[in-house]
């Protein structure tokens, strides 16, 4: 999956699941959209569905530091690469 494809999918997920339309890549998701830890857990489930893989507990914990869309795309890209998807 290319970075462009991932970006497109993440935007789709944000619109569909969180009603957040076209967020800026560097917007602080919590401050700008009230995106909280519960949303983050839901997002991880969506990422697992997107990549058709199961994230480990450690990988999920790593994601808790993420603050914006750019970091989410980086994260998804690295998870995909790690598994050679």
């Amino acid at each position: 999956m290319t970075r462009e494809q991932i970006t497109l999918k993440i935007f789709e997920i944000f619109q569909r699941e969180f009603e957040i339309v076209n967020p800026g890549l560097d917007d602080d998701l919590r401050e700008t959209f009230g995106f909280d830890s519960v949303d983050a857990i839901e997002l991880l489930l969506e990422i697992e569905r997107l990549l058709r893989l199961e994230l480990t507990h450690e990988e999920k914990k790593m994601a808790m530091e993420i603050r914006n869309i750019r970091q989410i795309i980086d994260y998804v890209e690295s998870m995909a690469k790690k598994r050679e998807l």
Partner: protein, 412 residues
């Protein structure tokens, strides 16, 4: 025990016979039933003998933000909607709402069964990936205090939280314990009530206990039939009700509209069987309520009976009413209109009693055509009475042997 005066300064309900005060009063005046055929749920409905349900079948326009909606199951939608209407009606300042002096007493029978059903589906799917798909929010949507804390979150309420989950006495306890909080100075106001969503699990439970109505499946509006000789059991329903209780001096100072006054509350337990109604236990609740309100029995002019329409429950309740109040007060079983709305029935019946108190009429028990002779010793309300109501008792009883009696007074 003396304490501060507690008044009701706002109320709102979602019921099978209407949402607004106008709709509900009109339904009562024209004897309209909210009992409808049981909906197909592709799980239990085809196995349930009772094919009727007290149904909220009109659209409700919710206007909740995503950040609030994400932790709400259907029951929390009901609860937050009536809470929102109550807070708007009361006109409390945002400063007071978030001051810690306003608390919430709100509950439901068992959180959100719709969400719980989805969780169980996932459990039994046998798939590991499905298992991990149990959402982080599913617990927040389905836990037993989901109504209370979704209300605190939505409005930023920081006071005490009480969340009774005592089935049929859930919301009468909410109002009663809220009353005691304000009366004794722990809080200056309490937002109290209960809600339950459309749920066939509850119907199945009562159906298995042979307690549900089955003889009127082809005529849903003819059941339940509180105190009637042809009654054949209860009808489960859905709904929500909320009241705002406020310390009297504060309400007066801020110029609030006072709808009524709570003057007494009682709650006890039968101390034995968890299902069978108990004459001694119920009678004692009613007596404690009168003592708490410092009233003589003949000062009560209306009793909102729990009256679910079961064979034994109605007889024992009639005996208790007669033992404590005699044949003086008019008695109405409001469940005749909408079935048993479970965790919300105490609040809904309190709100309907308030409406009747304000409008000066007493609604008859719907479907009471021929009183069972074993229930006939009390003063039933067979037809609509246009008369003032000054003091009313609202009584509710739950599985587990929990009984409540709430006494309210017209504010003049």
């Amino acid at each position: 025990m003396t304490g501060r005066r507690v008044v009701i300064t706002a109320c709102a309900a979602i019921t099978p016979i209407g949402h607004t005060r106008k709709e509900i009063v009109e339904s009562l005046r024209r004897g309209a039933s909210g009992v409808k055929p049981l909906k197909e749920d592709h799980l239990l409905s085809q196995f349930i003998h009772s094919q009727v349900f007290g149904t909220v079948d009109y659209p409700i326009e919710y206007d909740f933000k995503r950040t609030h909606r994400k932790t709400m199951g259907p029951v929390a939608y009901y609860a937050c909607q009536v809470a929102k209407e109550v807070l708007e009606q009361a006109g409390l300042t945002q400063e007071f709402v978030t001051s810690g002096r306003l608390g919430v007493a709100f509950g439901s029978t068992h959180g959100s069964p719709t969400v719980q059903r989805e969780i169980y589906k996932t459990f039994f799917s046998g798939s590991r990936s499905e298992f991990s798909a149990i959402g982080a929010v599913d617990y927040l949507k389905s836990m037993v205090h989901t109504t209370a804390v979704n209300i605190t979150r939505m409005f930023g309420i920081t006071g005490r939280v009480i969340s009774s989950g005592t089935a049929c006495t859930t919301s009468s306890q909410s109002i009663g314990y809220g009353y005691e909080m304000v009366k004794h100075g722990m809080q200056d106001a309490m937002l109290c009530g209960g809600a339950d969503e459309y749920d066939t699990t509850t119907v199945a439970v009562f159906d298995n206990l042979l307690a549900c109505s089955t003889a009127f499946n082809d005529r849903p509006h003819c059941t339940p039939r509180p105190f009637d000789v042809h009654r054949d059991g209860l009808v489960v329903g859905e709904g929500a009700g909320a009241v705002l209780l406020e310390e009297y001096e504060q309400a007066k100072r801020r110029g609030a509209t006072i709808l009524g006054e709570v003057i007494g509350f009682a709650c006890n337990n039968n101390g034995g069987d968890l299902i069978l109604p108990n004459l001694a236990g119920i009678s004692e609740t009613l007596r404690i309520g009168l003592r708490d309100a410092a009233l003589a029995a003949d000062q009560v002019d209306f009793v909102s009976a729990h009256a679910t329409g079961t064979k034994m429950g109605d007889i024992i309740e009639a005996q208790a009413i007669h033992a404590v109040y005699g044949a003086g007060p008019f008695v109405t079983g409001l469940k005749g209109y909408m079935g048993h709305t479970m965790g919300s029935c105490g609040a809904i019946e309190t709100i309907i009693t308030l409406y009747m108190m304000q409008e000066g009429f007493i609604a008859p028990t719907l479907n009471l055509e021929e009183p069972d002779e074993r229930c006939a010793m009390i003063r039933h309300t067979p037809a609509l009475e246009e008369r003032p109501m000054n003091v009313a008792a609202i009584q509710n009883f739950a599985f587990g042997g929990v009984n409540t009696s709430l006494l309210i007074k017209r504010f003049v």
